[in-house]
């Protein structure tokens, strides 16, 4: 299985690529509209500021091929900002429309807790999912973000809490996304990526 990583200049793309290669997957990193349109399995890694991601997707005209891939049920994994970009909008970049695959707005976590939400946290699993198959209850995953998606959507299979509950794992058909960084989450993170490869197989 060849995994196509969408390169918008995010710092974590090489780590994600390395993590997939460790699992024996073939990985290519590209911002070519043509390659993304033809991809059989897409990953949108992300870290940093939401505006940088959206601007870059628009600059390379990637919005349409990504939406079409999701429509065709191509296995898709969004990571961190790659999850947040799936919503209609984000308070981090209020003037820029998100991909709008899920309704709702990404908002900042409350100031009652330390931000960024940085470090290892556990999940509260709501529905069984392919992405979290074989993950032991109480497993920790590495988070690094200040903004987060709503916890209430039917697409959420697991939530996490830091100041408030937020979407941690999303799965709707072949459309998957995680707020944490599986490429930085040790053995548990590698299992999630392995599970995604099974979804894609």
């Amino acid at each position: 299985m060849k995994v196509t990583l969408i390169d918008y200049g995010a710092g974590n793309v090489p780590s994600v690529e390395r993590a997939f290669r460790r699992l024996g997957a073939e990985a290519e990193t590209t911002n070519s509209r043509g390659k993304i349109a033809e991809a059989r399995c897409l990953v949108l890694p992300g870290v940093g500021h939401c505006a940088a991601l959206i601007h870059s997707l628009d600059k390379h005209s990637l919005r349409q091929p990504i939406l079409q891939a999701v429509q065709r049920s191509i296995p898709f994994l969004g990571i961190c900002l790659g999850l947040q970009a799936l919503y209609e909008s984000s308070k981090e970049a209020p003037d820029l429309p998100g991909l709008g695959i899920f309704p709702g707005e990404v908002t900042r976590l409350p100031d009652t807790v330390k931000l960024p939400h940085m470090g290892w946290n556990t999940l509260q699993i709501i529905h069984p999912s392919r992405l979290l198959d074989s993950i032991a209850p109480g497993s920790y995953f590495y988070f690094a973000h200040s903004f987060a998606a709503p916890a209430a959507g039917p697409e959420n299979v697991a939530v996490c809490e830091h100041g408030r509950e937020f979407a941690a794992v999303i799965e709707r058909g072949n459309l998957c996304a995680v707020q944490f960084h599986p490429e930085k989450s040790g053995a548990a993170g590698a299992q999630v990526l392995q599970n995604f490869l099974k979804v894609a197989a």
């Binding site: 100031d111 960024p116 032991a136 920790y140």
Partner: protein, 254 residues
């Protein structure tokens, strides 16, 4: 369940080798960074920090190569820094495989650098390193590897740094560094209270009780140590089991 307290080994390197000194001086060789990184990744470290403490301009390619080789070993986050003075130098460190960049002296000299880094990489990738010593009734910020005093108070500088874009503070007590006499709890608690971002405590760790104290009385979000892990005085696994038994939330290795 909530956010786990992090245990972070630190590799002070002179480019290609890990070194360790007391009070930032008297360096001795402490091992191979790639082998140590692989060991800590396997033992349940929550993150790794790699610092270029020589930070000589002509040695920078060696340090970047060290980051690349260390990053290959890791399935946990990597922070790198030491002598970074510009956005361009930070980019090179991130491209080599670091998830976060730590800035110290250059931020004191030009705080806007924090804003530039935060705009490019996001605040979660910008770690402001503060070296502080106790001076009568306050903590004073020191720069250039602890050698030079400034007029800044640690609390004021930490707050300013966060306003400018830092997403985390790496706080080192110069007084305690290398002494193995425990973290400076008052300093850590003061900074943790002063800022809205996570604080990594550093300097003086030896015993498991030092870590327990810095997470409880010091209100630290993470704790960093070097030689006690390199020399296998303290295993990360045993340390985490001790903290867990004392009701501090940690990520226990499987």
């Amino acid at each position: 369940m909530s956010l786990a307290h992090r245990i972070i080994p630190c590799l002070d390197t002179d480019g290609a080798r890990v070194v360790k000194g007391i009070h930032f001086e008297g360096l001795r060789d402490a091992g191979n960074p790639v082998e140590l990184a692989a060991r800590y990744n396997a033992e349940g470290a929550d993150e790794l920090v790699v610092l270029d403490i020589a930070a000589a301009r002509d040695n920078r390619p060696t340090f970047l190569e060290t980051i690349r080789r260390v990053a290959e070993q890791l399935a946990i986050p990597l922070t790198a820094g030491g002598g970074i003075r510009s956005l361009e130098e930070a980019r090179a460190v991130v491209r080599a495989g670091a998830d976060k960049v730590t800035i110290n002296t250059a931020a004191v000299e030009r705080p806007a650098l924090l804003t530039e880094l935060s705009a490019e990489f996001g605040a979660q990738a910008v770690v402001l390193a503060i070296d502080a010593t106790r001076e009568a009734d306050h903590w004073q910020v020191r720069v250039r590897g602890g050698r030079e005093a400034t007029s800044l108070s640690a609390e004021g500088w930490a707050q300013r740094g966060v306003e400018m874009g830092a997403g985390e503070i790496l706080l080192t007590s110069v007084d305690r560094d290398g002494t193995q006499s425990g973290f400076d709890l008052d300093l850590t608690a003061a900074i943790s209270k002063a800022v809205s971002v996570p604080v990594i405590a550093s300097g003086g760790a030896k015993l498991p009780s030092h870590f327990l104290d810095v997470f409880t009385r010091g209100a630290a979000d993470a704790a960093l140590a070097a030689s006690i892990f390199h020399d296998q005085v303290q295993s990360i696994r045993a340390l985490k089991e001790f903290l867990h038994a004392n009701h501090v939330e940690v990520r226990l290795p499987c």
